[in-house]
C-alpha cells in the first residue's frame, strides 16, 4: 500500500482510539483539539486555492457557512424523521452525520463552482475582492432566509462532532490535497501559480485547473463548516463573515503558501494561541495584523515554510548513518 494511504488509515484509527477515551480527557482540551482539527481542514483546503494554485481567495468562510447550514438543516430537519423518536443508535447517528457532512461539502462545492467560474479571468486583487464579495453575498442571503433561521441562525444542532470525525476528515483533506498536488495532473496547479500566461501558452487548461482548485477547496471547507456547526451547536450568518475568512488566510500565509505541513503547524498555533492569550484577548487581532505587516518584508515565505522532507532526510542521515 502506498505510504500516504497508510498514513491516512493510521490517522483514522488513532482518531477513533482517542475518541473512545474522550470522556477521560478534560473537556476544555477536547474543545481545543476539535478546534485545531477544524482549522487544519480549513487551512489546508484554502492552501490548495491560495497556496498551490496562487488564486488569492478571501471568501473561504462563505463556503464554510454553506456546508454548516446544509448539514445542520439535514440533522435538524431530516434527522428526526429518519432516526425516529428514539434518536437512533450510534451507528445510525453516525451515518446520518456522515451523510449530512457530505451533502454540506457537496453544496459548498457547488458554491465553489459558482464562485470559480466568473472569477476565472480575474487576477490578484480583483479575485480577492470578488471572492470577498461572494462571501458577503452568501452571508446576506442566509441572513434573509427565514427557513434557516434568518439572522438568528440555527441552534440546538445535535452534538455529533467528535475527535474521530474531525481528525479523520483532517487526514482525508491533507491526503487529498497532497496527493492531488504531487500527481502529474497536480503539477498544473503549481504551473499556474508560477506563471499563468506561460501555462496557457504550453497548452494547460488553466480554466479547468482553477475551477478544480476552487471546487475541491470549497468541498472541504463545507465539511469543516458542518463539523463546526455540530461542535458549537449554534450557527449564525455573521459568524462566517470576512473576519473569519481573514483568520484562515492568515494561517495559510503564516504557514507558507503552498507548504502543507507549514500550514498545518500554523493552524495548530493560531488555534491554541487565542486560548493561551485569553487574558490579552483585545490585543490578539492587533498582533495578527502586525504579524502580517512584518512578515512580508522579513520572511514572505511564511514562518513555518521549511523544506520538511529535506530536514527529515538530514536528521535521518545524522542518526542513521549506516543507511548508505
Amino acid at each position: 500500500m502506498p505510504k500516504p494511504l497508510i498514513a491516512l488509515l493510521a490517522t483514522v484509527l488513532l482518531a477513533f482510539g482517542v475518541s473512545n477515551f474522550s470522556d477521560r480527557i478534560d473537556p476544555y482540551y477536547l474543545d481545543v483539539m476539535t478546534g485545531v482539527g477544524i482549522n487544519i481542514i480549513l487551512a489546508v483546503s484554502l492552501n490548495l486555492v491560495n497556496g498551490y494554485t496562487g488564486q488569492f481567495s478571501l471568501g473561504h468562510a462563505g463556503f464554510m457557512s454553506v456546508g454548516a447550514y446544509l448539514s445542520a438543516a439535514i440533522t435538524l430537519f431530516l434527522g428526526p424523521r429518519l432516526l425516529g423518536d428514539g434518536g437512533g443508535s450510534a451507528v445510525q447517528q453516525g451515518l446520518l452525520f456522515l451523510g449530512a457532512l457530505l451533502v454540506g461539502g457537496t453544496g459548498a462545492a457547488v458554491a465553489g463552482l459558482a464562485v470559480g467560474i466568473p472569477s476565472l479571468r480575474l487576477k490578484g486583487d480583483y479575485l480577492a475582492l470578488v471572492t470577498l464579495g461572494f462571501g458577503e453575498i452568501i452571508r446576506v442571503v442566509f441572513q434573509n432566509v427565514e427557513a434557516l433561521g434568518g439572522a438568528l441562525g440555527l441552534n440546538g444542532i445535535p452534538n455529533y462532532t467528535t475527535v474521530f470525525w474531525v481528525y479523520s476528515f483532517a487526514a482525508l483533506t491533507v491526503f487529498t490535497v497532497v496527493c492531488l498536488v504531487r500527481s502529474t495532473y497536480g503539477r498544473g496547479f503549481i504551473a499556474i501559480h508560477d506563471d499563468e500566461i506561460a501555462s496557457e501558452a504550453v497548452g494547460l487548461n488553466t480554466t479547468r485547473y482553477k475551477i478544480v482548485a476552487f471546487v475541491v477547496g470549497a468541498f472541504f471547507a463545507g465539511v469543516a463548516g458542518g463539523l463546526y456547526g455540530h461542535f458549537k451547536l449554534t450557527i449564525t450568518p455573521t459568524g462566517f463573515d470576512f473576519t473569519k475568512s481573514i483568520e484562515i488566510v492568515v494561517m495559510v500565509i503564516l504557514g507558507g503558501m503552498g507548504n502543507t505541513i507549514g500550514v498545518i503547524l500554523a493552524a495548530i498555533l493560531l488555534t491554541i494561541l487565542p486560548e493561551v492569550l485569553r487574558s490579552v484577548e483585545q490585543y490578539r487581532m492587533i498582533m495578527y495584523a502586525l504579524l502580517l505587516i512584518i512578515l512580508m518584508p522579513v520572511r514572505p515565505k511564511g514562518l513555518f515554510n521549511f523544506d520538511y522532507p529535506a530536514i527529515v532526510a538530514r536528521l535521518r542521515r545524522k542518526f542513521w548513518p549506516a543507511r548508505e
Partner: protein, 386 residues
C-alpha cells in the same frame, strides 16, 4: 545505657512531637480556610454591546460583594469568574465551556443579549449547570432546557406593553414598524408588538427592515413618511435607534418613535440629541421608581461606582446574581441539580426590579416600565403590570 541503635531512634523521634503538632495545626487550618464557591459570568465587556455588558457586570459585582460582606453563602465566600465574549458570535460557547470545565463554576450568569444566551445555554444545559440570564428577552432562551432561567420578562410581554401604551396612552391608530433583521431580539419583539397592536384594533401601515451596523435609514424613513403614519415602533438597539430618530427628524417626521429595552444606554441621548426628545421605550426598571428597595440600590450603586446611576441592565445584573446566591443558600449545596431546583422554586424574591417568581417556563413574571426622554434625560412615565 541505651544502645547506639536506641540513641539513633530517639534522635529520629525527637522532631516527632513538633511534626505531629504541625500536622494537627495544618489540618485545622484546612478545616477553616474553605474553598470559595465559584459563580461564572459571561458578558459583553468589550465590543459593540459593551454598554450593556459593562452595566450588568457592575450590578452583578455589587451583588456578589454585598453577599460576601454578609458572610458569603453556605459559610463560604463567593468568587465571581468573569469572561468577556466581546459581543461576538462564537465566543460565548467557548468561554462558558471553559467556565464549566476549567473553573468548575456552580452556576452561570449571562447573557444580556438573547443571541449570545441562545449560544451558551445548550452548553449549560448539557453539563447540567444552572444558568440565569439577567435580561435576554427572547422566549427561545429558556426553552432550551430546565437548567436555563431568566429574571426578566419575555418579549411576548414586552411587545404587548408597547402596543398597549401606543394605543391607549399615545392614542396612535396607524403605525410603522422598523425592525432589525440581525437580532433575534428585534425580530421577536416586532412580531409580538404587531400581534397585540393589530388585535387591539390598530393598523400597522408599513414595515421596513434594516441590518445592524447600518447608518443610513433615509430610504426606509422616506418610505414610512410616504405611508402617513402616526408613530414608528423601532425594536432595536440604541446604536441604530439614535440615528433613526435623528434622520426621522431631519426628514421632518415629527411623530413619536418608540422601542424596547434595547434603547436604554446613555449613548442614545448622546448620539440622538434633540431628536430623541419625546420618544418612549419600555424597560425593566427605572432608578426613579419610588420604592425603598430601588432607592437603597441606587444609593449603594452610586457609592460603589463613582456616582453613576444604575440602569436597567445593572439592576437586572444585580438581581440575577441575587437570585443565584439565594438559590444556593436555599439548596444548601453546590450541586447543579439542587441549585436548579432551588432557582425554579424562587417565589417572591424581592429584588430591585420588582418581585421575582419563576413560572413554569422558568421566566419571571415582572412589570415593565415606560420611559420617556425629556430634557435630555430618561424620565419614568408609568409601570405596566402583566
Amino acid at each position: 545505657m541505651a544502645t547506639y541503635t536506641q540513641i539513633q531512634m530517639i534522635r529520629l523521634l525527637r522532631p516527632l512531637p513538633a511534626s505531629v503538632a504541625a500536622a494537627a495545626a495544618l489540618s485545622a487550618c484546612r478545616l477553616f480556610s474553605q474553598e470559595t464557591i465559584k459563580i461564572g459570568e459571561y458578558a459583553s465587556l468589550t465590543g459593540k454591546e459593551a454598554a450593556f455588558g459593562q452595566s450588568s457586570h457592575k450590578g452583578t459585582v455589587l451583588a456578589i460583594e454585598e453577599a460576601n460582606a454578609a458572610g458569603g453563602v453556605l459559610g463560604r465566600q463567593i468568587e465571581l469568574v468573569t469572561e468577556d465574549d466581546q459581543s461576538k458570535q462564537g465566543e460565548s460557547s467557548t468561554i462558558v465551556k471553559k467556565l464549566i470545565s476549567r473553573d468548575k463554576v456552580a452556576g452561570v450568569l449571562g447573557e444580556v443579549a438573547s443571541m449570545r444566551s441562545l449560544e451558551a445555554a445548550p452548553i449549560c444545559q448539557a453539563y447540567k449547570v444552572p444558568m440565569i440570564s439577567p435580561s435576554s428577552t427572547n422566549p427561545k432562551v429558556t426553552e432550551i432546557g430546565p437548567y436555563i432561567f431568566r429574571v426578566c420578562f419575555i418579549d411576548p410581554f414586552q411587545g404587548t406593553v408597547m402596543a398597549k401604551f401606543a394605543k391607549d396612552s399615545l392614542k396612535l391608530r396607524r403605525v410603522a414598524v422598523l425592525t432589525s433583521v440581525s437580532s433575534a431580539y428585534s425580530v421577536g419583539l416586532a412580531k409580538y408588538f404587531k400581534e397585540r397592536f393589530i388585535a387591539d384594533g390598530g393598523e400597522v401601515a408599513i414595515e421596513q427592515k434594516f441590518t445592524e451596523g447600518d447608518k443610513d435609514f433615509n430610504a426606509q424613513l422616506t418610505a414610512i413618511k410616504a405611508a402617513g403614519v402616526e408613530g414608528i415602533f423601532v425594536p432595536g438597539y440604541y446604536t441604530e435607534a439614535a440615528l433613526i430618530c435623528r434622520q426621522a427628524r431631519e426628514l421632518e417626521m415629527a411623530m413619536p418613535l418608540f422601542g424596547g429595552d434595547g434603547w436604554e444606554a446613555p449613548q442614545l441621548i448622546e448620539i440622538g440629541g434633540a431628536a430623541v426628545e419625546g420618544c418612549y421605550y419600555s424597560t425593566h426598571y427605572s432608578p426613579q421608581v419610588d420604592t425603598p428597595a430601588v432607592k437603597a440600590f441606587v444609593a449603594k450603586f452610586k457609592a460603589r461606582y463613582d456616582g453613576q446611576t444604575p440602569d436597567a441592565m445593572a439592576a437586572l445584573g444585580y438581581d440575577s446574581a441575587g437570585v443565584m446566591v439565594d438559590a444556593i443558600r436555599r439548596a444548601g449545596s453546590t450541586e447543579g441539580a439542587a441549585i436548579r431546583n432551588a432557582i425554579a422554586a424562587t417565589k417572591d424574591y424581592e429584588g430591585v426590579t420588582g418581585s421575582t417568581t419563576m413560572d413554569k417556563d422558568r421566566n419571571a413574571t415582572k412589570s415593565a416600565v415606560v420611559i420617556m426622554i425629556k430634557d435630555g434625560k430618561f424620565k419614568f412615565v408609568q409601570t405596566v403590570a402583566p
